[in-house]
């Protein structure tokens, strides 16, 4: 009994240690990573580069004799291809397809079944002991 208590205490201590180590790395790396991602899209330099690309596209269209409103519309389409980055992120992070939802249901069903089986087995063991 005392041994088990000691073991549990040791495990708890190790868990706290582990969590501390994980958090110490995460607290340094995650903000740096997010900062890098943000800087690559939302910075003066990135805006200028993107503006140059869009402006060159617009200029080419104008020089080819495209009407102003059509050139603007086409440039808008060219730029909107970059907004798909947001869509990609949405799908990658939050997007759950039908398949994953079904899988989630199946997993929770199996877990419930196993727990029920385990519960029954434990009851039987208790009855046998009595």
């Amino acid at each position: 009994m005392a041994e088990e208590k000691e073991r549990k205490k040791k495990e708890e201590k190790e868990d706290v240690e582990e969590l501390r180590e994980v958090l110490s790395v995460v607290s340094k790396e995650v903000p740096a990573l997010i900062k890098g991602i943000i800087a690559s899209v939302f910075s003066e330099e990135a805006g200028r580069d993107m503006g140059r690309a869009a402006a060159a596209f617009y200029k080419e269209l104008k020089e080819a004799g495209m009407p102003d409103d059509v050139a603007v519309k086409m440039t808008e389409g060219y730029i909107s291809s970059f907004t798909s980055l947001g869509e990609v992120m949405k799908r990658a992070v939050g997007g759950k397809g039908e398949e994953s939802k079904e899988l989630e249901k199946e997993i929770s069903k199996r877990i419930k079944e196993k727990l029920a089986e385990k519960g029954l087995a434990e009851k039987e063991e208790e009855e046998d002991e009595d």
Binding site: K13, V16, E17, L19, R20, L23, S24, V26, S27, V30, P31, I34, K35, I38, A39, V41, F42, S43, E44, E45, A46, G47, R48, M50, G51, R52, A54, A55, A56, Y58, K59, K62, V72, T75, E76, I79, S80, F82, T83, L85, G86, E87, M89, K90, V93, G94
Partner: protein
């Protein structure tokens, strides 16, 4: 030893949250600067100010999309 670990854990978590808060606060400013630089480049090529503003709106849309994604993923974890 354990108390030290817990204190260190809380400090790291606070540091993480403060860094994320600072990033969130500075994001609006960064978007504004990127938009201005973008509009300036378009104006150089002869685009009207109105059209340049219309085109630079995608920056705000992108920012909103990213924030929405982060928020929804946070709520999904809870």
């Amino acid at each position: 030893m354990r108390l030290r670990s817990i204190i260190s854990l809380v400090l790291h978590a606070t540091r993480l949250l403060l860094s994320l808060l600072a990033l969130w606060l500075s994001l609006g400013w960064k978007v504004r600067r990127a938009r201005k630089a973008f509009e300036k480049e378009l104006a150089k090529m002869g685009m009207t100010k109105k059209d340049a503003k219309k085109l630079s709106a995608w920056y705000s849309k992108l920012k909103n999309d990213i924030m929405q994604t982060v928020k929804s993923s946070l709520f999904a974890w809870r």
